[in-house]
């Protein structure tokens, strides 16, 4: 059943390709149907499969000569992320209901990207995982370069090249691991059992981890993220921040840490106070959290605020992974879901509700527009999304970041304090953005700058698909916020599987 998430998206792509041109309505309908179908399959899978066990969905010999299999399976971690993908896909289509320019191509690339994302989360053959991972790069390029805005070609190319360089690093590590293990199998389960020499793991781990982490926005390789997010059309930024960055984090957890757990061990010597790759990488994660938040605080472009906030929040995911304890790692997975939903919502407000109507994202100009009166729905949605993003109790972000902090406190207290500081700054930039974009009181002398004189601007009303999308995403973050066990009962048993043995051993320092 779960495998159909991929196939439905691919079928959707194929149908869109043969659809006649100039019928955006039909294209939207097909895309929405495919997205709903994919989500239904994901839900059915999550409801029926046992999250604590690896349930194989499909296992075929794909390239027997090379020992490569077409192995789709799922455990609790995969299920969580597949659900996220389903939700984000539907929301993305609802928020791109106004795409008229080359609509069928837009949705075809969109669904192709989604197929790749589903595929990554379900692959348990490393080769297959890599195939889906790269399959997701190219549609991103076109989505941004064709339908994007500010410096779109630059942003698109930068994103594609960063992703590809990251995956090149991953490829080197994987080919070497494949050969070392006898060039007979690429199965994740079997490679994870193979005792790679520690000296090999010491260089393969950082290579593969950083390769994946480039896509997760690890500082200092994050610079593609803000430019890419800003250049992308709304649906693509929602997906980029919502699920594509999770591909990177998922790769770190599923491939790098699972195959090369000894890469996290101490080097045996200390260099500038660092004793292991774990120290180095967790420092980078924390720098990402604080740096992203601080930079978001001073942005003039509304979308850049959200773009940098993504870097900051993804830092929590990486930090959580590196805590190597169940609280921290399950917090990281929960944060992947939570950030996926919240970032989607934030980008939807900025990109679709505000930018498509006001045609500016300059906070300085938005300040003059009195948007809370012109678009009360957008303002309320943004405030809710902002509260979720700040990590207020009652929203999913609270539990996720709390868990990461608790886990980090056990592993490296200093970093936990710094990450806590990042959360404070997070509250500050969200409040600043809310204030500037929606609640700024135009001063008397600048009232003349408002195109409409006085009174709220006459902007097109918020459409039904936008409301539906907003309700969907708010509902998800609230549901997890009020009842986190909904996902934790998928994630925590998932971490108990033999694949995560290192987690039990890694534990506390």
């Amino acid at each position: 059943m779960l495998a159909w998430t991929i196939y439905i998206s691919l079928i959707g792509t194929a149908v869109l390709m043969v659809l006649p041109r100039g019928k955006p309505g039909a294209a939207r309908a097909v895309a929405l149907l495919a997205a709903l179908g994919g989500f239904a399959c994901a839900l059915a899978g999550a409801a029926t499969l046992d999250p604590g066990r690896l349930s194989t969905v499909t296992r075929l010999r794909w390239i027997p000569s090379l020992g490569i299999e077409y192995h789709l399976a799922a455990d609790g971690i995969s299920l969580t992320l597949v659900l996220l993908t389903g939700i984000a896909t539907i929301a993305g289509i609802l928020f791109s209901w106004n795409v008229e320019h080359r609509a069928k191509e837009f949705f075809a690339f969109y669904l192709l990207l989604i197929a790749g994302v589903y595929g990554v989360f379900l692959s348990f053959d490393v080769f297959l995982l890599f195939v889906f991972y790269e399959l997701a790069i190219i549609p991103k390029y076109f989505l941004i370069a064709i339908w994007g805005s500010t410096r779109k070609e630059y942003g698109a190319m930068k994103l594609a090249l960063y992703s590809f360089v990251g995956s090149a690093m991953v490829l080197v590590g994987l080919v070497a691991a494949y050969v070392l293990a006898g060039a007979k199998t690429m199965s994740l389960l079997e490679l994870a059992r193979y005792p790679f020499p520690e000296s090999f793991q010491m260089w393969a781990f950082p290579l593969v981890f950083i390769g994946f982490a480039v896509l997760a926005g690890l500082w200092p390789f994050h610079t593609w993220a803000p430019t890419g997010h800003v250049a992308a059309p709304t649906a693509a930024s929602m997906l980029l921040a919502g699920v594509v960055m999770k591909l990177g984090a998922y790769g770190c957890l599923r491939v790098a840490m699972t195959l090369f757990p000894h890469g996290l061990d101490p080097w045996g010597f200390s260099l500038l106070g660092f004793g292991s790759w774990r120290d180095v990488l967790s420092l980078l994660a924390v720098v990402g959290i604080v740096y992203g938040a601080l930079v978001a605080l001073v942005q003039r472009d509304f979308k850049f605020v959200i773009g940098y906030s993504s870097v900051s929040h993804m830092g929590f995911v990486l930090l959580g992974l590196l805590t190597l304890n169940t609280v921290g790692v399950s917090g990281a997975v929960l944060q992947m879901f939570s950030h996926g939903v919240i970032a989607g919502l934030l980008f939807a407000v900025v990109g679709r509700m505000v930018y498509d109507r006001t045609h500016t994202r300059e906070l300085g100009k938005l300040e003059l527009m009195n948007l809370n009166r012109a678009m009360p729905f957008a303002a309320v949605t943004f405030i809710i999304a902002g509260m979720a993003s700040m990590g207020l109790p009652g929203f999913s972000g609270f539990w996720a970041e709390l868990q990461v902090l608790v886990g980090a406190w056990q592993a490296f207290p200093t970093f936990a304090v710094l990450a806590g500081f990042g959360i404070l700054v997070g509250a500050a930039y969200i409040l600043r953005a809310v204030q500037k974009a929606f609640f700024a009181e135009p001063e008397e002398e600048s009232v003349g700058a408002v195109p409409n004189g006085h009174g709220p601007l006459a902007l097109p009303p918020i459409t039904v698909p936008e409301r539906l999308g907003a309700f969907l995403l708010i509902g998800c973050t609230l549901a997890i916020g009020l009842y986190p066990r909904l996902l934790l009962h998928l994630i925590i048993p998932g971490l108990g599987s033999p694949l995560f043995e290192w987690l039990a051993k890694g534990g506390t320092p």
């Binding site: 390709m17 794909w62 390239i63 027997p64 000569s65 090379l66 191509e105 080769f127 890599f130 195939v131 790269e134 399959l135 790069i137 190219i138 390029y141 076109f142 370069a145 064709i146 070609e153 190319m157 594609a160 090249l161 590809f164 360089v165 090149a168 490829l171 080197v172 080919v175 070497a176 494949y178 050969v179 070392l180 060039a183």
Partner: protein, 498 residues
């Protein structure tokens, strides 16, 4: 030479014989019956006869499955040569079909005859293990290709390209001949395996080093590896599109197969090593340097090209670098990987040239800007181009990626110092990340840029369209189900004992 078994020779050479007869038929039909008729009709007939001949040869290869060796490797037929010959014939058929809708020459018969002669040379090239035969077939291929390059007689750049190709080629042939004659002098035999036996020794004879380097110069030219690539950009740009397509596809397939054979069989005692910090003299370090230089220069030079054909030429240089890694592995797995890579590369690059031929025919140029907005003017053609470019860039699940993965894995897996060549793999993977940039530049024109001269639909000849769609399907198919080819190649390689 009393007991020459002519019947045996004929049995092994039936496909080649069919091709020779076809050449005569094409020439004869054009000369005798079709002289006064319309040119496009003559082209169609000539292409039909050529395709029929190739199809006949394919059918014979598939049905009779000839096996055996004539006169100590003078002519060898086994399952590996069969797969490669099938690929060469298929590439020739597709090239001939692309040629139907071009009008650079009034000499239809001669053009197709030369196309077939070049293929004939390539078929002999891959099915011999004899130094003399290798040289002769190399010359047959090269001379045909020189003329094919010059075939657009009215255009100066075609003549210039052919002149460059010919001068470089002649020089390289001289080097090859010199190197091969030294090999013969050292070993007293023209049969590759005997050469290897005679040369196997504890240390490297200086004369052998000379012979080896000379020989590799010649083959380096044939496969357009740095520093012998200088002809490629001009030839790819100036030659008529179908000729360039054959140079880029069929000639490359044959060149790499014979190179792999010469070094793995003939020079098997003198391989040396190019492992990191453990170099030893032999052909491996020479080829490793050529591979590294090709990947670097090809990929970096391709970035700044404005002509798509020159871009493809530099990308071909870069791909020659990746393929050389397949030669370097010199084991059964590596050979299978190499042949998989060159065959799929041949199909892909043929397709790319097919698209360029159509676009150039309609818009009058082969610059990047001529492709602008192609996705709105000819959606199917654009989709084909997307597939070809992504495969060249090595995006899975297309064969460009599978081939690279297989070549890298086989290279690391070869020999005792398995990880010693990791530096080459890292370079290759890094450079393929660079290559994505320029392939995306092409695709950016196709999909992102707005069409320059109106959005009018670009009329695509039906035959070209069909051929290109078939090629795209073949590329996607070989990428998604690579085992169809790989398992056969592995079986063939194991059977041949390479």
């Amino acid at each position: 030479m009393s007991g020459v078994a002519y019947l045996e020779l004929f049995r092994l050479a039936v496909p080649e014989t069919i091709l020779v007869v076809t050449v005569l038929a094409v020439l004869g039909a054009d000369l005798v019956a079709l002289r006064g008729l319309e040119l496009s009709f003559r082209r169609t007939i000539a292409a039909l006869i050529s395709c029929a001949g190739c199809a006949g040869a394919i059918a014979w290869l598939l049905l009779a499955q000839p096996q055996g060796s004539f006169a100590e490797g003078m002519l060898v037929a086994d399952s590996l040569t069969r797969v490669v010959k099938l690929a060469l014939l298929a590439l020739t058929i597709l090239t001939a079909l692309i040629s139907v809708n071009t009008d650079f020459t009034p000499h239809a018969g001669e053009y197709f005859a030369l196309l077939l002669l070049a293929t004939l040379g390539m078929m002999f090239l891959v099915s011999t293990e004899d130094i003399l035969m290798i040289f002769i077939s190399l010359e047959l291929t090269s001379l045909s290709l020189y003329v094919l390059t010059a075939f657009a007689k009215q255009r100066a750049d075609s003549a210039e390209a052919a002149m460059k190709y010919f001068l470089f080629g002649g020089m390289a042939a001289a080097f090859t001949l010199f190197g091969l004659s030294l090999l013969y002098g050292l070993s007293g035999s023209t049969d590759l395996s005997r050469v290897a036996d005679a040369l196997r020794g504890p240390r490297l004879d200086p004369l052998l080093v000379l012979a080896m380097v000379m020989t590799l110069v010649g083959f380096g030219f044939k496969v357009a590896a740095v520093p012998f690539h200088l002809w490629a950009p001009d030839a790819y740009q100036g030659a008529p599109a179908p000729s360039a397509a054959l140079i880029a596809s069929g000639s490359k397939v044959a060149g790499f197969v014979v190179l792999a054979k010469v070094v793995t069989v003939g020079l098997s005692g003198a391989q040396g090593s190019a492992a990191w910090q453990a170099c030893a003299p032999g052909w491996v370090p020479v080829l490793a340097l050529m591979a590294a230089a090709s990947m670097l220069l090809g990929n970096l030079a391709a970035i700044v090209q404005s002509s798509v054909r020159r871009l493809l030429a530099y990308s071909a240089v870069a791909h020659a670098g990746y393929m050389l890694l397949g030669v370097l592995g010199h084991g059964g797995q590596s050979l299978a990987a190499l042949v998989y890579y060159v065959i799929t590369y041949g199909l892909t690059t043929l397709g790319a040239f097919g698209v360029i031929a159509v676009v150039q025919g309609r818009t009058g140029g082969d610059n990047l800007s001529n492709l602008a907005g192609l996705s709105r003017r000819a959606p199917l053609l654009a989709l084909c181009m997307l597939i070809f470019m992504l495969s060249l860039a090595g995006i899975p699940p297309l064969p460009g990626f599978v081939g690279k993965f297989y070549i890298f894995a086989a290279l690391l897996n070869a020999g005792p110092q398995s990880m010693g060549l990791l530096w080459l793999v890292i370079l290759a993977v890094g450079m393929s990340a660079v290559s994505l940039y320029y392939y995306l530049l092409v695709l950016k024109q196709v999909y992102v840029a707005e069409p320059q001269d109106g959005t009018a639909a670009l009329p695509v000849p039906a035959l070209s369209q069909v051929v290109l769609v078939l090629l795209a399907l073949a590329v996607v198919g070989l990428g998604c189900a690579p085992d169809v080819l790989i398992s056969r190649l592995l079986a063939a390689v194991n059977f041949a004992g390479l």
